[in-house]
Symmetry: C2
Subunit: 457 residues, 2 copies
């Protein structure tokens, strides 16, 4: 492994520059205007994969943004690792909260890369390509490797399931390796063993057929913003329980023993509150903060708008109000069932004086990775090499809906080797990724291949 380490050390500046070239393509999947950037990013990755040592690489069409597929097959008798990552990123608004002028022009400051996608998932994805290159160029690759890089993860991977169905043989592998999650702290490695599922809706509430004068009509005609506020408020009770009938039916209560083990993970509520500057935390009664995000579902309004939102005071009783609403789900909850339950309930509780339209935008299943999986063991040992500490298995509150789809469609388990940190501000202004984590990732991943090949022998 010394040769690999040396190769990484000698090429580290180029690795960073290659990441910057990818970051500079503003591949925001949720905005139609950025469609051409998706093609650009996919082609850039194809070139990178070929120059990094893949035998073949191609930009393949899907029903949405293209999928980049590449491989290096060294021996059919050896295990095959399928690397999954995504080249699309979240929108950058509110842009004025970024400390840099252009979120797509990466800056290195205070030992960190600052840019949209620095961590999620261009930075973490690039670690795999460069770790792979370092093994190939030093003749140290012990497994077959396949890459499957998609451009729709941030909008719920709507096209990849069908693409997987159609390319089952092509992506056949023993395990899927993913770096799209985080570690507890820079000195405490962890492996994500659980992911929450997600259902995401947009609701449209219509009161009167036009904006009305709030004086002439106010008090006599239901205001759709007031009604929407009440309905949102009624979705969660005073104990933080979601009130949709049947919502918790499939939630598996985690045993006291497992909860006790979770509680051993280092966590300071004071530091957590300080980091986000809130005086008190709020969540479901009877659960700790880590349980609330790890093993319990949530109900959040991600966006709301309606009426006059400009400067000054306009006295209006608006015609419309809108909200984007999401629920994070836990293992065994079916996101399509939950999507339906919400829609039915929301329509049912809507009073006669408004019309509601509930649109299901996207969803995904929760996922669990057993800690006795050979690939989990290999990942554990790989982290130990870099961090001198056994990684903690963690249930994350985040969602990567496609991970459970992989299991369903391809029958392959995924191992989530994340190197992100909480302070990376993914999905927020000032996303960043510490240089140390970027290079630690590139150095750790070759050990995964080494141990995985040994265990699977």
């Amino acid at each position: 492994m010394e040769k690999v380490k040396q190769y990484i050390e000698e090429n580290k500046d180029r690795f960073l520059e290659e990441l910057f070239e990818l970051i500079r393509i503003p591949s925001i999947s949720s905005l139609k205007d950025h469609k051409p950037d998706m093609e650009k990013a996919a082609n850039k990755l194809k070139d990178l994969l070929l120059s990094s040592g893949c035998d073949k690489a191609q930009v393949m069409p899907s029903t949405g943004n293209p999928v980049v597929y590449a491989e290096k097959m060294i021996d059919p008798a050896k295990p095959t690792v399928l690397v999954y990552a995504h080249y699309d990123v979240m929108p950058v608004d509110p842009v004025d909260l970024w400390e840099q002028d252009d979120p797509f022009e990466p800056i290195v400051k205070d030992g960190k890369i600052w840019a949209r996608g620095a961590d999620d998932d261009k930075g973490q994805g690039m670690m795999h390509i460069k770790a792979f290159e370092s093994m190939v160029k030093t003749d140290s690759l012990p497994c077959n490797v396949k890459f499957m890089l998609e451009g729709e993860e941030e909008v719920g991977s709507p096209s990849l399931p069908q693409w997987c169905e159609e390319n089952k043989d092509l992506v056949k592998a023993d395990v899927i390796l993913v770096s799209d999650t985080g570690m507890i702290a820079p000195d405490i490695p962890s492996i994500t063993t659980g992911l929450r599922g997600l259902s995401y809706w947009e609701v449209e509430m219509t009161g009167p057929n036009r904006d009305l004068h709030s004086g002439l009509f106010g008090g006599a005609v239901a205001n759709p913003i007031n009604v929407l506020a009440k309905m949102i408020s009624d979705m969660v009770d005073e104990n933080g329980h979601i009130t949709i009938p049947g919502f918790y039916d499939d939630v598996i209560e985690v045993s006291d023993k497992e909860r006790a083990k979770m509680a051993e993970a280092p966590f300071s509520e004071e530091e957590y509150k300080k980091a986000i500057d809130v005086k008190e935390l709020y969540g479901e009664k009877g659960y700790t903060t880590n349980e609330r995000t790890g093993i319990r579902p949530s109900f959040d309004v991600c966006g709301i708008w309606g009426g006059y939102t400009g400067e000054g005071a306009k006295t209006v009783l608006p015609s419309k109000a809108y909200a984007k609403i999401s629920s994070r789900l836990v293992p065994n909850q079916n996101n399509e069932k939950i999507a339906k339950l919400f829609k039915e309930h929301f329509e049912k509780i809507a009073p006669d004086y408004v019309k509601v339209n509930v649109k299901f935008l996207h969803g995904g299943q929760a996922y669990v990775c057993p800690i006795d999986l050979p690939a989990y063991k290999a990942a554990e040992k790989a982290y130990e090499e870099t961090y001198n500490r056994t990684p903690v298995p963690v249930r994350s509150g985040g969602s990567i809906p496609i991970i459970s789809e992989f299991e369903k469609i391809l029958g392959i388990k995924s191992v989530l080797m994340g190197f992100g940190l909480e302070a990376d501000a993914i999905h927020s202004p000032n996303e960043n990724f510490p240089l140390e984590q970027f290079y630690n990732g590139i150095n750790t991943i070759p050990y995964f291949y080494k141990y995985y090949a040994e265990i699977m022998k």
Copy 2:
């Protein structure tokens, strides 16, 4: 009066063209960018008042937009009428809901003028200038006339009270005549005898110090949109009562006798619902629709925004949420007291996991005009001339905060001779004003002067 009528008939096209010239100046008082348009509109009015027969006219500075003052004094022994109107208009958004490309380029279609300000209050204000011209040019003016035209009515007339304090002698008059209200129907004249007051706030709710990933934090950190929705919802109880302690303390309950008289005004709930396309009406329990807008206060969210409001799905737990909130008040409620009660209550019910900031944007007192006032009687007889029907006294739900200020500062009562119709869509897209109402107004107003001079003799 035949000469006046004939003059109006002969000059009607020019009157309309003069109104159009005024409408074309986009004098939106709530938007800073339109500051130059306020000056432009004021100067246009000064010129119009001079050419219409005023002896003097001037654009006078105030602490905000200028006030246009003009007069024609014919005889100190005769009564003096002070005409009040406003040359500022509401914003035009959402622009895409207008059927015409430019809301400031008036169109005549289906017998109506379509434009922002067509009714409120350029159209209705112009009626007074042209009625005045018609009396002057035919030597029929029986009273002294003063004009006081302001440019901040739509933002609550913040500067006019001080201007009135400083110009008490200048505007001295026996009555203030205003056309900034409506009639029940095109064939049922009415005079507004009551106006609601208003308090208007903007609230800012801050949760975490930055937008958070709704997966990693959702369920453990209070979402400011969810909290704002709950707080808004809690401001009104299941009976439609506003829950702010002390809110109703100064509301005078209207007697059953007066309520019975109000109920005689023609009103079809079915037509009302049909016109705004709602299945059911909603308001305070125990009151009819007209009572809810006429004699009861209201609580409306005029605008709300926060989090991700763009295309598609962004999973975010936002840092901020905002709302613009207003209450219409009834006579004897003090808007400053209510403003304070709301702020105190809203801050008090805010949970520890958010920070709130309540900003009072503007307010105004409610107003009542007694129906035995000489000027009311003159107005009544004037409408009878045009509509062959005694006008109905009506308590309006709208607010003209400055009207109660006039009484307080100048000691002068106002008579509200409105010619607007409900379908005029003031404050909304597609504002319009029927040509017939515009010309009926110009023809009716000279009768007011005639009867007022006779009664006051």
